[in-house]
């Protein structure tokens, strides 16, 4: 197995990011120089990642989800919005019926039953994966972009800029995130895009803080001083030196952030502030049937399970990444 020191690439190699660590790692250069030239930092990190059990499980769960999202039209037995149960003449919210498990073959088969409008619950769940994944990634992408920019500015320039940005971040963090998200949606209006934006805004401080603290350690390194002495422009230093070396904690934070975003978007949909019907989205599917939990629990159980699957996948992957990318936490 490779040791953590192998994560550090040859610092004389201009394409790869430079080491973020202190002088303690310098003596490992000789060892890393023996690595094949073709394998960069990310490839090594990915190999490392595959050695972590939690990351493997997380990746598997995520892969399943992505496949389901892509091939939903092929797997789903029915359209997610068609009221098939009503056409077939079976009551709405009928219990799951699987012929293989002894359900009477005169009954139409609905693996997870039908919902309050007679739509096939299983098909809706499959299509829901699309919304959930897209919304989670989308919210985090926006938050990471904004947070990175703010964190870079804050960490690199310091002083008054830093103070102003970080105090604004403190104010954002002073509100419980769901509350602030609800407030933002109240201003923007209901809808999936607005829910994503709201979640983005409330999570920006996390990324800004992570990037800022990474920048603070990176900018003190000799190679940045060397760039400065050579007269490299500030923009280039940030882009070529600071940013790549600050990425590791950001990637971990972003992965865990997708988990949180998925959970909060589902919560917003549950409160009726997310997607509009009839779009199949897990949070709103659950919300629509929540008063029927005592009579048709399957309509609450499965959407929740799907949300959990999605959140768990990213949580496990994020944990594994943190272990793989941060040698200090190796245990």
């Amino acid at each position: 197995m490779m040791g953590p020191g192998d994560l550090v690439p040859d610092p004389l190699h201009p394409e790869g990011p430079l080491p973020a660590g202190g002088p303690g790692r310098v003596d490992q250069r000789g060892e890393t120089a023996r690595l094949p030239e073709t394998r960069g930092l990310w490839a090594t990190a990915f190999r490392e990642l595959l050695h972590k059990r939690s990351a493997k499980i997380g990746l598997f769960m995520l892969a399943v989800l992505i496949l389901v999202a892509i091939f939903a039209p092929l797997i789903a037995p029915f359209s997610p919005t068609a009221t098939v149960g009503i056409d077939e003449g079976i009551p709405v919210r009928s219990a799951p019926c699987i012929h293989l498990f002894g359900c009477d073959s005169s009954q139409p088969q609905h693996i997870l039953g039908t919902d309050g409008n007679g739509r096939d619950e299983f098909s809706r769940l499959l299509y829901g994966a699309r919304v959930s994944l897209l919304a989670g990634f989308g919210a985090v992408a926006v938050a990471v972009a904004a947070g990175t920019l703010l964190g870079l500015l804050s960490g690199f320039f310091g002083g008054r800029i830093d103070n102003v940005i970080m105090r604004i971040m403190d104010v954002l963090l002073a509100f419980p995130s769901l509350l602030l998200a609800i407030a933002i949606i109240t201003v923007l209006g209901q809808g999936l895009i607005n829910a994503m934006l709201a979640i983005s805004v409330v999570t920006i401080p996390q990324y800004a803080r992570v990037v800022r603290s990474a920048v603070l350690t990176v900018r003190e390194n000799d190679y940045v001083a060397a760039d400065r002495a050579l007269g490299v422009s500030t923009g280039r230093i940030i882009w070529n030196r600071i940013l790549p070396n600050s990425l590791t904690p950001l990637v971990v934070q972003a992965t865990l952030g997708v988990a949180t975003a998925v959970l909060e978007i589902a919560a917003l949909s549950f409160l009726g502030l997310g997607v509009r019907p009839p779009t199949a989205e897990w949070g709103s599917m659950l919300a629509a049937e929540r008063n029927q939990v005592f009579t048709a629990p399957h309509l609450v159980f499965f959407p929740g399970l799907a949300i959990m699957w999605n959140v768990l996948a990213f949580n496990l992957l994020g944990d594994g990444m943190r272990d793989a990318l941060d040698p200090r936490l190796n245990r």
Binding site: A174, P176, A183, A259, A267, V300, M308, V311
Partner: protein, 353 residues
């Protein structure tokens, strides 16, 4: 120490001002005309102009902000147009319910999370450790609202006729209206007493009302578990990793080497240091709890701050939104402040610097 406290207090001021500004802005940018929201769609322009004039809504923004700050500091949070009652009065009724729920949830989280984390960290890589970590991972990934609904189904339907049966919603049995404890003991009707008496469990204990206690506590268990699960998982993970860190330190080895009993090494030497970061995590969980309270209270039909806020946002009850948001955010900042100071007090290393 005094300097540190003073500096930490000073740092909170810009954040508090920022919160005031955000809540002020919040009520001003919510779409919709405040006049017609209050007086109805058919209010004429003249009536509306008079209304705006009377409420000071046509004055420049900075003047309005000044007035708002003055109002807040004199304890005037405005009046709910939906209920026609002062927001502070509503807070007096609903804040206790949320506080009680959060405390119950935090108790569940700490009582289960800390021991689980200790066992997990001490018996590293054992079956108990793996089970705890799997449980913790699932715990942080569960939607609060789903867990709440599933608990309702489990305890109110599946276990209905067993001794484990628990009520699915509400805060007291129907028809049960326990007298506030200050009436029972013939005490004056002070605000503090009234506030505490709105916490059903506390009130029942203070007035020695056993029936009310059983009813109130029974109604609180499920929401507390639903709300406490995420903090529980976070606390368990933090306790575990912190204990693992400490157990590998030299002074623990020294303690073992000099022949101290293992229990003493773990409890007196390791745990005391390992629990420091856990204190911080417990404090920070309060923010999660307040956010989760919106969902938990909605599901379990508890009329606390979370549910009231959500209702107020839906019905555009500006003053309530503004006032409740302000109190929640300020409360969050104060809790963080206390946690920070507590941490400094507990950790001599930070205290000196």
């Amino acid at each position: 120490m005094a300097r540190f406290v003073a500096r930490r207090l000073l740092y909170s001021i810009p954040v508090l001002l920022g919160i005031l500004f955000v809540t002020f802005l919040l009520a001003r940018v919510i779409p919709g005309d405040p006049c017609r929201a209050v007086l109805g769609e058919r209010a004429t322009d003249e009536i509306c102009d008079a209304f705006m004039e009377r409420k000071g809504l046509n004055r420049p923004m900075y003047v309005q902000f000044g007035v708002y700050i003055k109002d807040v500091f004199t304890g005037d949070l405005g009046e709910s147009f939906r209920y026609g009652r002062p927001v502070t009065t509503m807070l007096m009724e609903r804040l206790p319910i949320t506080i009680e729920l959060s405390m119950a949830a935090l108790t569940v989280a700490v009582l289960i999370g800390v021991p689980a984390g200790i066992i997990s960290g001490y018996k590293h890589n054992s079956a108990a450790d793996v089970a705890t970590m799997v449980g913790a991972n699932i715990g942080v990934s569960m939607p609060v609202f789903w867990l709440g609904l599933m608990l309702q189904y489990l305890f109110a339907v599946l276990l209905r006729d067993t001794f484990l049966s628990l009520p699915p919603s509400g805060s007291l049995d129907a028809g049960l209206i326990p007298a506030p404890f200050y009436e029972v003991w013939h005490l004056p009707e002070w605000g503090v007493f009234e506030f505490v008496s709105n916490m059903n469990v506390f009130n029942a204990v203070l007035s020695g009302n056993w029936t009310a206690f059983r009813s109130a506590a029974g109604h609180l268990i499920l929401p507390a578990i639903a709300l406490g699960t995420i903090p529980m998982a976070v606390i368990a993970r933090m306790t575990r990793s912190s204990l693992l860190d400490v157990l590998s330190l030299d002074y623990v080895r020294t303690a073992r080497a000099k022949g101290l009993p293992e229990k003493r090494v773990v409890v007196r030497h390791a745990l005391r240091n390992a629990l420091l970061p856990v204190v911080t995590v417990i404090g920070l969980s309060l923010g999660t709890l307040l956010g989760g309270a919106i969902l938990t209270e909605t599901i379990f039909g508890l009329s606390g701050v979370g549910k009231s806020l959500f209702d107020a946002i839906q019905s555009r009850d500006y003053a309530v939104v503004q006032g409740f948001t302000l109190i929640v955010a300020v409360g969050f900042v104060l809790v963080n402040l206390v946690v920070d100071l507590l941490y400094t007090y507990l950790n001599p290393k930070v205290r000196v610097t």
